[in-house]
């Protein structure tokens, strides 16, 4: 949503700019971590996996920084209307990005489990799935930066593709495990990884809903009504 003008108090603009920059930085790190984690997994790159674990600390720090800054902004500037919605969205988005970082970390932690000798076919599907969720995270942060409700809505639409990926991986892995019980351990780990990516897609969707609200002041109607994905069913059981 375009801004009509700057705040009369310029320092207010500076504070909001700083808050947005922090959220963008966090988003960039989380997005990269997801891509790198899958990359490390498919290439058995232990070095990258370890780096992801280290960098997750920075994401956690940024989350605390966003929260501090947003609370200070609310206390000192008493923001209203879109400024208020944006400050609240920043806190919520930071929390979600921290979770996305954790999923990347989870995936990275599993890298040592898969060595070069393992050639599980479903493993080759993961990069494509990761690509989509990475783009969702990337686009939703662009939408936040541009206060673009329409772009946020488009991110949400992509989530069903992620769910479809998860559903097909789930079936493939199940078949794999039934064929040979030696496959069960690694297949289960892969299933967890797929689930992590699927959750990242859900989180990107949550962020999109927050961006939409921050930009328009309206809530998006419930997107999942009537859909039953394998992914959704498991969430209920979680």
């Amino acid at each position: 949503m375009p801004r009509s003008s700057e705040h009369t108090v310029k320092a207010f603009d500076d504070d909001i700019g700083e808050l947005r920059a922090l959220v963008s930085e966090m988003g960039g790190l989380a997005e990269t971590a997801i891509g790198d984690a899958i990359h490390a997994l498919t290439r058995h790159d232990l070095e990258t996996a370890n780096r992801i674990l280290d960098e997750d600390v920075r994401i956690d720090e940024l989350e605390a920084e966003v929260e501090r800054l947003a609370v200070r902004l609310i206390a000192l500037r008493a923001p209203l209307a879109d400024d208020l919605r944006e400050a609240v969205a920043a806190i919520k988005i930071a929390t979600v990005l921290e979770r996305i970082g954790d999923y990347a970390k989870n995936i990275a932690k599993r890298v040592p489990i898969f060595d070069h000798r393992v050639d599980i076919e479903p493993l080759s599907i993961l990069p494509a799935m990761a690509q989509i969720v990475q783009e969702m995270v990337h686009n939703v942060l662009d939408a936040f930066a541009a206060r673009d409700a329409e772009m946020a809505r488009m991110v949400i639409e992509r989530d069903s593709a992620v769910d479809d990926f998860y559903d097909s991986l789930f079936r493939a892995l199940l078949t794999y495990m039934m064929e040979n019980s030696h496959n069960i351990t690694q297949s289960t780990h892969l299933l967890f990884i797929a689930k992590n990516l699927e959750r990242v897609g859900d989180h990107a969707t949550n962020i999109a809903e927050m961006v939409y609200f921050a930009a328009t002041g309206e809530y998006l109607e419930d997107r999942t009504a009537g859909e039953t994905h394998m992914a959704d069913i498991e969430e209920l059981e979680e």
Binding site: S5, A81, G217
Partner: protein, 276 residues
């Protein structure tokens, strides 16, 4: 100016639903197509608004937007300004308050007012409150008058602080106490509507909080309309807020909605501090 049933274009409110902003059952005052001129200069341009009994209504807007001028039309306070000219229709319980037969003194008892600067009479605390009921003949005896004074001071949250010195001068009180005395004075004549024009702008934060608490307590007993420059105050004390700009009523809505999701660009710019 006499057709109460004619529901002309609703105020420029943008409620999400088709329901009127003010429940017809609680409707206290209605203004339709009100214009106010000071000489040649138009201060209020075609303002229509409903004031409900069941809540506090805040008028906000930049200086010179007309919010105080409009407030003063609600009890014909602008009549005291020779060059002011008001047209349109304003009703109190369906009664046209600009009707030539309207007793203005009586009207101002029904629609009381509290001003920006506390303005107690240079008389005792007791006399400040007793004056109105006495001239309006609301008390039949001294003891009845005593009761009205006490009840009004209690309602205004001042009684405990002044009960032992009711004969002291009202002007000797602190600013916050003086303002509550003025509210007690307004309450004493048993009004239906209380108009407050920046009642806290001369008070410190503690005295302000006491007035705000008082407004909260008085809600529902009287229809309260408050003009304030302090948006946080409007957000704290009111349930409905009207935003005025350049003599127009730009937006009128639920306070919680107006401050989180204003529908008009001008409202948003003003409340977020991007005005001008």
């Amino acid at each position: 100016m006499n057709d109460a049933t004619d529901t002309q274009a609703a105020p420029e409110a943008k409620p999400a639903t088709d329901e009127p902003l003010v429940d017809p059952a609680s409707l206290k005052m209605t203004a339709r197509n009100v214009d106010v001129y000071y000489g040649d200069k138009q201060a209020i341009d075609d303002v229509s608004i409903d004031i409900g009994m069941d809540n506090v209504t805040a008028f906000i807007g930049p200086s010179g937007c007309g919010k105080s001028t409009f407030l003063r039309t609600l009890n014909r306070m602008n009549d005291t300004i020779p060059i002011a000219r008001t047209s349109g229709q304003i009703e109190l319980d369906g009664e046209d308050i600009y009707d030539p037969d309207m007793d203005v003194v009586q009207l101002r008892a029904r629609v009381g007012m509290v001003f920006q600067k506390p303005n107690p009479f240079p008389k005792s605390i007791y006399e400040n409150v007793a004056y109105g009921p006495r001239i309006h003949g609301l008390a039949g005896s001294k003891s009845e008058l005593d009761q009205i004074v006490e009840k009004s001071l209690i309602r205004a949250g001042l009684f405990e602080e002044v009960k032992d010195r009711l004969d002291d001068s009202g002007t000797a009180l602190s600013g916050g106490q003086q303002q509550r005395l003025c509210i007690a004075r307004a309450i004493a004549v048993d009004p239906e509507v209380i108009l407050m024009d920046e009642p806290c702008s001369a008070l410190d934060p503690i005295a302000t909080a006491k007035i705000e608490e008082l407004i909260h307590e008085l809600r529902g007993k009287y229809a309260i309309v408050i003009v304030t420059h302090n948006m946080q105050q409007a957000a704290r004390v009111s349930q409905r807020t009207a935003f005025f700009h350049l003599g127009n009523l730009v937006e009128y809505g639920e306070t919680s909605e107006l401050f989180t999701n204003p529908h008009q660009e001008r409202t948003k710019d003003y409340i977020t501090g991007r005005y001008g």
